[in-house]
């Protein structure tokens, strides 16, 4: 540096900035159980609020918020209100930072992961060491589930091995027998995880198939579709988001490939796919809850409550992330309640591991998710999927895919 005074100032300023921030934010250690006070239970959650994954994190936050508001209006759990502390995090690095903040600084009682697969995976890796009760809502990759950990639970999203079997079974619904399978998969994280499981399942079943891939947010599927057409594929399994699925299907129609039976991965099953395709009747896919928005009274009521909360309803919502967020909030509340209000983390883990049929209805919420059950050896709360189909321009769940 040119001037010593400047050099000192610089060192001083920056150290002060760093030091000040952290000291101010670090509370004194409390003797109490973390996240529990006489009037409040603090629940932490992470998910992306900006960037390309915001479409998962934002509905997650909204669903959780709606459910906790309802619970609190009814007096809360164990005489305490539930406070949701939601932190933005997208990449693995951000996820770890956010989780550390929640666990170590905000002293949350329970952690909810509402982020995409890789972020959740990095965070899960950390919480396994810390032991904070953690609830993974949306992460589907095996990397989160393995190795088994007694403080990590998984909710509505089923493991890819289960989902892939459910997906394949839907091709045979209504007495259909596909001659040749095509798999159209995105090159990014979660489609790749599902692809791996699907390929294994197809191989086991000795089914003849071909795979084509596309980049995230791809909009031109002509070459992949032409390849399917060349190989006379009559059944396509789509692994990707609704927008990608929508444009792929739209283009298949434009290429005259109207005989294909489409089955979509859960992340692609959304209302927003209909306006892209236009006539979407007959398209199938699984949904993570027993009813599609609009299908039952309960879901319609959910939609109107969510709309009240948000002011207006963005296009394509509520989606499965909203609904899962809502249902999962109730599961957390039930787990807390079933400790007999002995609110310690150890008791919570015990109680959670023995929860049966947990869901919103047990606490007076709306019946819109599959009830979740856990055992000490199996922390996957739900194995069921709703097989959905588009009829008259709307999605509806036509049967429930049970655990294979």
């Amino acid at each position: 540096m040119r001037h010593p005074s400047f050099h000192h100032l610089m060192t001083f300023t920056f150290s002060a900035l760093v030091g000040f921030g952290f000291v101010m934010n670090s509370p004194l250690a409390r003797a109490q159980e973390p996240g529990i006070s006489a009037t409040e239970i603090t629940v932490g959650a992470i998910g992306a609020l900006t960037g390309p994954l915001a479409f998962i994190g934002t509905p997650g936050r909204d669903g959780l918020t709606l459910a906790f508001n309802e619970i609190n209006e009814r007096g809360g759990v164990c005489g305490r209100k539930i406070r949701l502390q939601y932190e933005h995090a997208s990449s693995p690095a951000e996820s770890i930072a956010a989780v550390k903040k929640l666990v170590e600084q905000d002293k949350i009682f329970v952690l909810i992961l509402a982020s995409g697969s890789t972020g959740a995976a990095a965070a899960a890796d950390y919480v396994r060491e810390v032991g904070v009760p953690t609830y993974n809502l949306y992460g589907s990759t095996p990397i989160i589930r393995k190795p088994f950990s007694k403080n990590v639970y998984h909710g509505a999203i089923v493991p890819v091995e289960v989902a892939s079997l459910g997906l394949i079974s839907m091709f045979y619904d209504g007495g259909n027998a596909p001659k040749k399978f095509g798999v159209l998969a995105g090159t990014y994280a979660f489609p790749q995880a599902t692809l791996k499981a699907v390929e294994e399942a197809l191989k086991v079943k000795n089914i003849n198939y071909i795979v084509e891939q596309f980049d995230q947010t791809a909009r031109d599927y002509t070459s992949q579709l032409v390849s399917f057409s060349r190989q006379q594929v009559d059944a396509v399994l789509f692994l990707g988001s609704f927008s990608e699925a929508g444009f792929a299907i739209k283009q298949s129609r434009e290429l005259g490939m109207s005989q294909i039976r489409w089955v979509l991965d859960g992340s692609a099953v959304s209302r927003a796919i209909i306006p892209i395709i236009g006539d979407a009747n007959g398209i199938r896919g699984y949904f993570n809850t027993p009813a599609f928005p609009g299908q039952t009274e309960a879901v319609r009521e959910f939609e109107s409550r969510l709309k009240t909360l948000l002011g207006s309803m963005p296009q394509g919502r509520p989606n499965n992330y909203d609904i899962i967020g809502y249902g999962s909030a109730y599961v957390v509340a039930l787990a807390a309640k079933s400790t007999g209000c002995q609110l310690t983390r150890a008791k919570l883990l015990d109680a959670w591991s023995n929860l049966k049929n947990a869901g919103p209805t047990q606490l007076g919420g709306l019946d819109i998710t599959f009830p979740e059950s856990f055992t000490p050896a199996d922390h996957q709360g739900n194995y069921r999927l709703g097989a959905a189909i588009v009829k008259n321009g709307v999605w509806e769940v036509y049967r429930v895919l049970e655990k294979p």
Partner: protein
């Protein structure tokens, strides 16, 4: 200005990181973690100062380079069982190789095309990582094993903070040494004024390549340090958007100093932690911040703080200004007649065409040893073309140019300094971002990339070589009367003083010949005479020959012993100034035919 330097200044950034590290050890686990990745961002910020700030190269490939480091280290640990320390070294090598690869096309482009070339590298790299599933785990990511160094398993937050802090401090120290030493100065010179840089042996492509290699190696190292801390590597974490955010580090912090990189990288990484309550708006906030900085504070935060500190602390500008004893100031007006038989520069039959224009038409010229020769002529006479041919910036179609018996044809401009030819420029070409002292030091030549890197260490410890260089430079500055300004930025000088600085830079290498390109153009009347005296004195004291192209004929006439007059590409007259000016042919050249009568 004293010969003494401010000793520990260069250690500042390193010490600062170590202070962060030590202070961080007392903190909770969360701030420890944030501090660790903040320090990593600081390293990236510093690395980008080298490339973006000093080298003025835009890069959108930082994300992929970081990924290369992170994956190189992780994959070698996972698949080959390489220990962490060796994996870090591998990451540096991989980063350097990546930098070199980007530089291959990268040094050919500036601005938006460079942005595009780096974007190509970035995208292709990420696609390859994603597609090589068998190796990298593909898009789902790969778990990074917990590292250990010499049997010490790095597991706790403190362990990580120590490893990251110490190694980052080390790499920042290396970068500081390079940035502050001749390497950094020459790089800035190369990016600031290519023509002038080449004249003094600074190879522009060489330095830009080095900038890519050095900064990429450091970014890759940062990636390798970060890998075990972020536990899961996946290609999307190193995509285009992170690359763009990293580009903001040096811009927001301040592009020209190590502090700027530290402040930008650290500040932008730690800011989101403070912005958590308004997390939805943070990306918008960042983008807005960068736009505001480029529009209103081009110097970044560092410049802002510097101005702030100037208000708080009174600058002790006069510190240690003990001038070198004045040399005997005795301009020798009646310079010795040059020995005309000894020819230094001989130009014979040089021809140059630009399409149909015959710019130089078999021109002959001769400059004797220690002589001063002038070249004048009306606009468009071809003086500049001839001058550029002699200085190596233009190729002749035909003819011979010999300097002390060696042919100058086919010799690059940057190689002429070795023979003892230097020059000044019509449009002053000082390196504005550098101090006068550093400007002059570049004039010593010996500016090959590796040499300047070695020299940077020498300068950092203020070794004998550095002291000698500084002394030589001060002597040269004194010769032109600028010794008091040695530590001012060249851009801050008056035009006349910038001309003097150019002369100091041209004479420090003790050349045999200086090519002076319009040395008084634009200089105020009062400074012209001073410059003339200066040139005469330098010629007399150092026996340096001069070739002067100038429009100001009275000035040339008084300065030179011989001169040539050019018109329409030909040399029309030659001889002593007074004789030449009186020639009818010359009058005709300037005033048209009738006045010659």
């Amino acid at each position: 200005m004293s010969d003494k330097r401010f000793g520990f200044a260069g250690l500042g950034p390193t010490v600062f990181i170590l202070i962060c590290l030590v202070a961080g050890l007392a903190l909770d686990s969360y701030p420890k973690y944030v501090l660790a990745i903040t320090i990593i961002s600081m390293v990236i910020g510093v690395a980008l100062v080298v490339l973006v700030g000093l080298g003025r190269c835009i890069t959108l490939a930082s994300g992929s380079v970081m990924a290369i480091g992170a994956y190189a280290a992780t994959l070698s640990m996972v698949h080959l069982g390489v220990p962490y320390a060796a994996a870090l070294l591998l990451a540096i090598l991989a980063g350097a190789a990546a930098g070199w690869l980007i530089a291959l096309p990268g040094t050919r482009f500036r601005g938006h095309n460079l942005a595009m070339v780096t974007l190509v590298f970035q995208s292709v790299c990420i696609i390859l990582i994603r597609e090589a599933k068998w190796l990298t785990g593909g898009a789902e990511g790969i778990r990074v094993p917990p590292p250990s160094i010499m049997g010490w398993r790095i597991a706790s937050d403190s362990d990580f903070l120590i490893v990251i802090g110490v190694l980052s401090a080390l790499i920042v120290l290396l970068m500081t040494i390079l940035v502050r030493g001749p390497f950094g100065k020459n790089l800035q010179a190369a990016a600031g004024n290519e023509v002038a840089a080449e004249t003094f042996g600074v190879s522009v492509p060489g330095y830009l390549t080095a900038a890519f290699v050095v900064s990429s190696a450091a970014i890759a190292f940062a990636g390798a340090l970060a890998a075990p801390r972020i536990r899961i590597l996946d290609p999307d974490s190193f995509g285009v958007l992170p690359s763009i955010s990293m580009l903001a580090y040096p811009i927001v912090g301040g592009m020209y100093s190590v502090w700027g990189g530290l402040l930008g990288g650290g500040g932008l990484r730690v800011l989101p932690e403070f912005l958590r309550p308004v997390a939805d708006y943070q990306e918008l906030f960042f983008a807005g911040l960068v736009i505001v900085v480029v529009m209103f504070f081009p110097g970044g935060l560092v410049e802002l703080l510097r101005r702030g500190s100037a208000l708080v602390f009174v600058r002790d500008a006069k510190r240690g200004s003990a001038p070198i004893p004045a040399a005997a100031a005795s301009p020798i007006a009646a310079a010795a007649e040059a020995d005309a038989s000894q020819v230094l520069l001989r130009v014979e039959g040089v021809d140059k065409h630009f399409d149909a224009l015959h710019a130089v038409n078999s021109a002959n010229l001769m400059v004797p040893v220690a002589g001063i020769h002038g070249l004048i002529g009306p606009n468009g006479a071809g003086k500049t073309s001839l001058f550029n041919i002699i200085s190596g910036f233009l190729e002749a179609d035909q003819g011979r140019i010999e300097f002390g018996g060696t042919s100058l044809l086919n010799l690059r401009a940057r190689d002429r300094i070795r023979l003892g030819i230097t020059r000044t420029f019509q449009h002053v070409a000082v390196f504005g971002q550098l101090s006068c002292l550093d400007n002059v030091i570049i004039g010593r030549g010996r500016n090959a990339v590796f040499h300047s890197m070695q020299q940077s260490f020498e300068y950092f410890i203020d070794g004998p070589g550095a002291v000698a260089a500084r002394r030589e430079a001060l002597v040269a500055l004194q010769a032109v009367g600028l010794v008091d300004q040695a530590h001012s930025l060249a851009a801050a000088l008056s035009l006349g003083d910038q001309r003097r600085l150019e002369i100091a830079r041209a004479i420090i290498s003790e050349p045999k010949l200086i090519l002076l390109d319009e040395p008084v153009s634009g200089v105020s009347e009062s400074e012209v005479e001073g410059l003339r005296q200066l040139l005469l004195r330098i010629n007399a004291e150092r026996n340096i020959a001069m070739l002067v192209v100038e429009h100001n004929i009275p000035f040339v006439a008084k300065l030179c012993r011989t001169m040539s007059v050019m018109g329409a590409g030909r040399i029309v007259a030659e001889g002593r100034p007074a004789e030449v000016i009186a020639m009818p042919a010359v009058r005709q050249l300037y005033f048209g035919e009738e006045s010659a009568a």
